[in-house]
């Protein structure tokens, strides 16, 4: 799609969504948000599956579709005959992800430079990403912990999406963001939206505003000078050292590689675990919760911005909701911003 040319808005009737998704699922691996509350996650579509319609993002993130908690890198063995090495088969059907929030899509674009570094491209991530069509649903009712606008996001943002869908009374207004999205929409053969619908969509998108404000201005540069700051001592004191925040973070992407029974597996790992940095010698450079929590904050708000020019946080608020001790990232950032560097 050429820049500057507004895409044609199309209309998708609410009561036809299920039959349209069923059609899409015939030719694609279709992922949709399902389940309620803390059990919500992206699941492969099947007829009759109730789509999640709550405020804010799903509890589990869309990164799992492209970077699963466990995946096989390759298998090996010598059962009969010479040693063999087998790569996992490529996915057969191209993926379509329907219903991810703009923050989720934006998070994927933050992971791309990590996994698709030209020097070390990750075939598994890249293979899944390149084949996938992302159809996002604008956030008209953000959750109480959302703060996307404070980290450069937008409840109706298009970044990373192929199609953006905005819910309006009785309908969804769909607009392509990329050529791939335009093709995808054309194949569905939907009617064009009228000016009333477009106006309703503008109103709906505006309803997503009014989020919590976290001031991160100048924080990356400031954090560079704060590695040895005394504030970390206080900040980590309540942290339990679990991985709830990292495993449910859409931009956390650390992993560990292990061999198990002839398979080399890649599993999620977390900088909050002592084992994460434990050397074979027994030495651990991040000995306490202080160093581990500092790493998590620094990675997101200092190291990543130094490389990629923006923080590795989309303000989805998941870490705020899931922290067992309500150690709120928003307050942590405010505290870091407030102290003398």
């Amino acid at each position: 799609m050429r820049r500057g040319e507004p895409a044609v808005a199309r209309l998708l009737a609410e009561n036809e969504l299920d039959s349209i998704l069923a059609r899409v699922a015939e030719r694609n691996a279709l992922w949709v948000p399902a389940g309620d509350g803390e059990q919500s996650a992206f699941a492969l579509y099947r007829p009759g599956l109730a789509l999640r319609q709550e405020a804010g993002p799903t509890r589990r993130t869309a990164k799992e579709i492209f970077f699963p908690r466990t995946e096989i890198l390759f298998t090996y063995g010598e059962d009969d005959g010479p040693p063999r090495l087998e790569a996992p088969p490529a996915e057969v059907l191209p993926a379509v992800v329907y219903g991810l929030r703009p923050c989720d899509a934006r998070a994927l674009t933050m992971l791309d430079p990590v996994f698709e570094d030209p020097g070390y491209p990750d075939g598994l991530w890249g293979g899944r990403r390149r084949g996938a069509t992302l159809v996002g649903v604008g956030c008209t009712r953000p959750s109480r912990a959302c703060f996307c606008t404070s980290v450069g996001g937008d409840p109706a943002g298009e970044e990373g999406l192929d199609v953006l869908v905005v819910p309006i009374p009785g309908h969804y207004l769909a607009r392509a963001v990329t050529d791939r999205g335009e093709e995808w929409l054309q194949a569905l053969d939907l009617p064009r939206a009228g000016p009333d619908h477009e106006a309703a969509a503008v109103r709906a998108a505006a309803a997503g505003a009014g989020l919590a404000v976290v001031d991160t201005e100048g924080l990356p540069a400031k954090l560079e000078r704060m590695f040895g700051h005394a504030v970390w001592e206080q900040l980590h004191e309540r942290c339990l050292g679990c991985a709830a925040c990292t495993y449910l973070c859409p931009t956390c992407h650390c992993f560990d590689i292990v061999d198990e029974g002839g398979s080399r597996l890649r599993n999620w790992d977390s900088c909050m675990f002592p084992l994460f940095t434990l050397h074979a010698s027994g030495h651990n450079p991040r000995l306490s919760g202080k160093e581990r929590m500092r790493q998590r904050i620094m990675h997101k708000f200092s190291y990543y911005p130094q490389r990629q020019g923006r923080p590795a946080c989309v303000g989805c608020g998941r870490c705020v909701e899931v922290c067992p001790v309500n150690l709120d990232l928003r307050s942590v950032l405010a505290q870091l911003k407030g102290v003398e560097a």
Partner: protein, 145 residues
């Protein structure tokens, strides 16, 4: 179930009593099923419940722990402490629907070669009746998500 399936049973035998009981069974030329794989341990009290779970995960169809009779423990009370742990483990397995009969316990002294042979026969038959263990077994990873 395949015709050729035979239950695999891992037996943790205490060095001082049950292992010697197994020896006596052998010396006395007593017959018992060959389904048992013996692991000698210093004391039944040294058997971590995790070992039993791990054995089931890695392909055992049943597990047996055998130690000295109460009062005869070489370490005075290892077997009686073990008794508490194993009662709890059995209850836990039952609670989560995990076939508690796959873990079995016995007291066999060094003088009880015949009892050892009988225990192995009984345990083998009771595990055979349950069929191959699947509930806790680690799956070989299929090459797909």
């Amino acid at each position: 179930m395949s015709q050729t399936w035979e239950p695999k049973i891992v037996a943790f035998l205490c060095h001082w009593c049950s292992y010697a009981g197994a020896d006596l069974a052998g010396i006395s030329r007593l017959q018992y099923p060959a389904n048992v794989r013996v692991i000698r341990v210093p004391c039944s009290g040294a058997v971590n419940p995790f070992y039993l779970l791990k054995a089931l995960q890695r392909g055992a169809d049943g597990v047996l722990v055998s130690g000295c009779h109460p009062g005869d423990c070489h370490y005075l009370a290892g077997n009686m402490v073990a008794r508490r742990k194993f009662a709890l483990l059995k209850k836990l397995l039952e609670h989560v629907g995990l076939e508690p009969d796959r873990v079995q316990f016995s007291w066999v002294s060094a003088a009880e070669g015949q009892k050892f042979a009988d225990v192995i026969r009984e345990v083998t038959e009771s595990v055979r009746a349950l069929g191959p263990a699947r509930h806790l077994q680690k799956a070989r990873r299929a090459l797909c998500r």
